[in-house]
C-alpha cells in the first residue's frame, strides 16, 4: 500500500532540505549586480573634497570598491588586510566612505592607515543604495569593462582574499575585451 507511505516520503524530503538549510546563511543576500555593469557615479574625494571621482574613469582597469565607514566595527577588523593589499600593488582599491562624517573618516584613516587610492564621500548613502549595499563593509570586484564580477559581503578575510578575490583579479587583469571571465571560474568564489 504505497499511499500510506506518502506522508513518510514527504517528511523525509522536507527533512533533507532542512538539513541542507542548516548550512546556509539566511541573512546573506546575493548581489543582483554580479555580471552587471557597475552603476555610474561621481563623488567628491575624501582628501580633496573639491575634486570629483567618476567611476567611468576606471574603465580599462580592474579595481576594487570597498564600502566602509568609521562607525563600522567590522571595517576595523578587515582594514589591516586592505592596507597590506594596497602595499602589494596588485590592484587599486577605492573606498566608498558610506554615510560617514568626513572628519571622522579622515581621523580613522590616519589612525589605521589608508588602504585606498582614494576614498569617496557618499554622505547620504545614495550611491550605496545604487550599489545595493545593505551592510558595511562590502567589497566589489569590478572588471575592465566596468562590470561587477564579485561582491564580498562583510569583512574580507585572508582566505577570501587568497582563494577568491586575488585569483579572480588576476584572471580579470589577463582577460581581453573579447574574453569574459566570471567568478564561477574561480573555485574559491563559489
Amino acid at each position: 500500500m504505497v499511499r500510506y507511505l506518502v506522508p513518510l516520503i514527504v517528511f523525509l524530503g522536507v527533512a533533507g532540505f532542512l538539513l541542507k538549510g542548516l548550512e546556509l546563511n539566511p541573512r546573506e543576500v546575493p548581489s543582483p549586480f554580479i555580471d552587471k555593469p557597475a552603476p555610474n557615479f561621481s563623488l567628491p574625494k575624501l582628501h580633496e573634497p573639491e575634486a570629483q571621482f567618476a567611476s567611468k574613469d576606471m574603465l580599462g582597469k580592474v579595481w576594487l570598491l570597498n564600502v566602509w565607514a568609521s562607525w563600522c566595527v567590522a571595517c576595523r577588523s578587515e582594514h589591516p588586510l586592505l592596507v597590506q593589499l594596497s602595499r602589494a600593488n596588485i590592484v587599486p582599491v577605492y573606498g566608498l566612505n558610506y554615510k560617514d562624517e568626513p572628519d571622522d573618516a579622515r581621523n580613522w584613516l590616519r589612525e589605521l592607515g589608508d588602504a585606498y587610492v582614494s576614498s569617496l564621500i557618499d554622505y547620504e548613502g545614495k550611491v550605496g543604495i545604487d550599489y545595493g549595499v545593505y551592510g558595511v563593509p562590502e567589497t566589489f570586484v569590478i572588471d575592465k569593462q566596468g562590470i561587477i564580477r564579485h561582491k564580498v559581503i562583510g569583512p574580507v578575510t585572508p582566505s577570501a582574499l587568497d582563494n577568491c578575490v586575488l585569483p579572480l583579479v588576476r584572471k580579470l587583469q589577463q582577460a581581453t575585451a573579447q574574453t569574459v571571465v566570471k567568478r564561477t571560474e574561480v573555485e574559491g568564489c563559489a
Binding site: V29, P30, S31, P32, F33, K99, E124, G125, G128, I129, D130, Y131, G132, Y134, G135
Partner: protein
C-alpha cells in the same frame, strides 16, 4: 490593558499643566495622503539588515534611507511597480515580500490551490471507494457499528443518536 505596570516607582519631576489654549496638531509629514502610498509600498519591501521586518516597520538606518528613497520616488510621480523594480534591481528579489511570479516561484503561488485540488480529489475518490467497500462488506461494518454504539451508549447524547438513526433509515429507504 493599563500602561501602569506593577512595581513601578513614580518620581514626578515635572508636570506641564494643560494649557488654556489648545490648537489642532499638525501632521508629521507634509502630505498625509502621499505618506499613505509610501507606507503601502514600504510594507511590501523587506528591510535587509533586520531579522524579518518590512521597511515600513523598521527604524534601522538603511530602512529609513530606503523609505526616504520611496518617498522621493513617489513625489516624483513614479508608480508602485517602478519603485519596486528599482529596489529589486539593487537588492534582488529578496527585497520583495510578495515574491514575483516566475518559473522558480510557480510552485509557491500555485501550490496552495494545487494542494486544495489534490485534497478535494482524494476526498471524493476516497468517499466513493468507501461507499463501495461498505456496500460490498456491509456485515462487517454493521458489526463494527454495533460495537461502536455499545461503547458509546453511555456517552453520546440521546438526541444525536436518535436523530442519526432516523436519518439513516430514511436515507436507506430513499436509496433503495
Amino acid at each position: 490593558m493599563s500602561s501602569l505596570k506593577p512595581g513601578i516607582v513614580l518620581l514626578c519631576l515635572f508636570v506641564i499643566a494643560p494649557l488654556a489654549l489648545a490648537k489642532e496638531a499638525e501632521y508629521m509629514v507634509a502630505d498625509p495622503e502621499m505618506e499613505k502610498t509610501v507606507n503601502e509600498i514600504s510594507a511590501e519591501l523587506r528591510c535587509l539588515v533586520c531579522q524579518n521586518q518590512t521597511i515600513a516597520d523598521s527604524n534601522a538606518p538603511l530602512a529609513v534611507d530606503l523609505k526616504n528613497q520611496v518617498r522621493d520616488m513617489v513625489e516624483s510621480g513614479q508608480s508602485q511597480s517602478d519603485i519596486i523594480d528599482y529596489m529589486v534591481e539593487r537588492y534582488g528579489d529578496f527585497v520583495r515580500y510578495r515574491p514575483p511570479m516566475k518559473a522558480s516561484t510557480m510552485l509557491l503561488w500555485v501550490g496552495p490551490f494545487l494542494l486544495l485540488l489534490i485534497g478535494v480529489v482524494v476526498l471524493v475518490v476516497n468517499l466513493r471507494k468507501r461507499t463501495a467497500v461498505i456496500k460490498n462488506d456491509g456485515d462487517l461494518s454493521a458489526e463494527e457499528n454495533e460495537r461502536l454504539q455499545r461503547l458509546l451508549a453511555a456517552e453520546s447524547s440521546p438526541q444525536v443518536a436518535k436523530r442519526g438513526d432516523l436519518s439513516s433509515q430514511k436515507a436507506g429507504e430513499e436509496k433503495s
